[in-house]
């Protein structure tokens, strides 16, 4: 079994050798991720795992992928998307230009969901969707807009439950077990690496979505991240978090009002 001190050593290596700082990630989950990687890759000892990580930049990619959770889906929590459609997006319609930031976008499923919502509201043409993640490999996947066909049944059900009225399959073409979403959706997306631990605010947004990312951070890093979002949201802009995340215990709380039972807050101060 991997001990706490081993975790500290790996985190130190990642920072010293590669500049990735995971020290303020929630430790219980991080320990699971490191143990899982160590077992999957069948290292005879923890020292050998560390040696490989330090000496092989190619293996770093695998470690970053292994340490970060990339689970995502389209129209995840359909009722959240319903609230976006009916309560949030209409209030953005009068703006000459709409800027949205998906922070921690993983392989892009939520960005494509958002683009579909905006297209159906006739707003996609004047929107820009910034999608960032610390992991360059997931961004590469997101950029391609290609997803496994087997998941489309579930996504289509989510889409309908979220209030979608079209034929979901009209948004993609299927080939060899994969689907590619139509080009017009991706045209308004900008993908870039951004690390919420170490990078700064880079624009002002009308809506920031960061769902199921903060759960992997400890409280001080959650606080830092929420402040980064606060600096990046214009007055009357929105912040959307995951269904079990909150800003209620953060210093920015006073400036925000929660909209309804979905985890969406509006900046009022």
């Amino acid at each position: 079994m991997i001990e706490e001190a081993d975790i500290d050593l790996v985190l130190n290596d990642l920072f010293e050798v590669y500049g990735y700082d995971f020290t303020n990630y929630a430790r219980a989950s991080l320990k699971r991720r490191i143990s899982r990687l160590f077992l999957l890759d069948k290292f005879p000892s923890f020292a050998e795992f560390r040696y490989r990580l330090k000496s092989d930049p190619g293996y770093l990619k695998r470690v970053i992928e292994g340490l970060t959770v990339t689970v995502t889906e389209m129209f995840r929590d359909p009722l959240f998307y319903k609230a976006l459609r009916t309560e949030i997006v209409p209030t953005l319609a009068a703006k000459p230009f709409i800027r949205i930031w998906h922070a921690g976008c993983s392989t892009g499923e939520e960005v494509f969901s958002m683009a579909i919502v905006l297209k159906e509201a006739n707003l996609l043409h004047k929107s820009l969707l910034y999608a960032t993640d610390l992991n360059p490999q997931v961004l590469e996947k997101a950029r391609r807009g290609v997803f496994p066909l087997v998941q489309m049944k579930q996504y289509s059900e989510n889409y309908i439950e979220s209030g979608g009225k079209n034929d979901f399959s009209a948004y993609y073409t299927a080939q060899y077990g994969q689907v590619k979403f139509e080009e017009s959706l991706a045209e308004k997306m900008i993908f870039s690496t951004h690390n919420l631990v170490s990078d700064r605010s880079f624009n002002e947004f009308d809506l920031i979505l960061c769902r199921n990312v903060l759960i992997y951070f400890d409280k001080p890093l959650q606080e830092r991240t929420l402040n980064l979002f606060d600096e990046s949201i214009g007055t009357l802009g929105y912040l959307a978090l995951g269904s079990k995340e909150t800003l209620n215990f953060s210093s920015i709380k006073a400036k925000y009002r929660q909209l309804n039972k979905e985890k969406i807050w509006r900046k009022i101060g």
Partner: protein, 196 residues
């Protein structure tokens, strides 16, 4: 194991269950005395659903405060915590919950093994792991880790379980301390940290 070891200095009880375990909880929760002497965490295999009707149902059966966990909620004695659907439930060293939406384990999220293991890390010998009715093998590996850290293991008496496979599997593959029916479980939990 000394008998008084079973009744002193426990901080947390984790109950894991699958098919047939909600019925057990509906019977167990009303029998628990308030104030509860420990923090009680409940992890159930449940349909992926964001509605909170299960928490409402369970909390209607007890005067003890019962919440569905939100990320970084503190773990407090005297309260009951329900793992939310579609997240693994973990506990940090400083006794706050962390949620995790990574891959399913044993085809399950939440997985019983994941919470048992994490709770064992934090609570060591002051932890009780209880495994209820269910139809798969989730939980057994986690119970073994609780025992490795000095905790106490309880399995539901298979003859009283709607789905006997899960507690039976644990009885065969983990050093279970006690095999109890639901009434006996309530007596056991109520007696924790109380002088005989």
């Amino acid at each position: 194991m000394a008998e008084n070891r079973l009744t002193t200095s426990f901080k947390a009880v984790v109950i894991g269950g699958s098919a047939g375990s909600i019925e057990v909880l509906l019977k167990l929760l009303p029998a628990l005395a308030s104030p509860l002497p420990v923090a009680l965490m409940i992890v159930l295999h449940r349909k992926n659903s964001t509605d909170s009707s299960l928490a409402d149902l369970l909390s209607s059966k007890t005067m003890i405060p019962l919440h569905e966990v939100e990320d970084k909620d503190p773990v407090l004695p005297g309260a009951i915590y329900l793992a939310p659907a579609d997240y693994h439930l973990l506990i940090e060293k400083d006794e706050v919950f962390s949620l995790d939406d990574s891959e399913k384990v044993n085809y399950s999220r939440p997985s019983l093994d994941v919470t048992f293991e994490s709770a064992a890390d934090v609570y060591g010998s002051s932890l009780v792991g209880i495994l209820l009715s269910g139809a798969n093998a989730d939980g057994t590996a986690g119970l073994n880790l609780i025992k490795a850290r000095g905790g106490v293991l309880i399995a539901q008496k298979p003859a009283t379980a709607q789905a006997a496979f899960m507690p039976q599997h644990a009885i065969l593959h983990a050093p279970i301390d006690r095999v109890l029916d639901v009434d006996e479980m309530a007596v056991f939990i109520n007696s924790l940290n109380r002088p005989n």
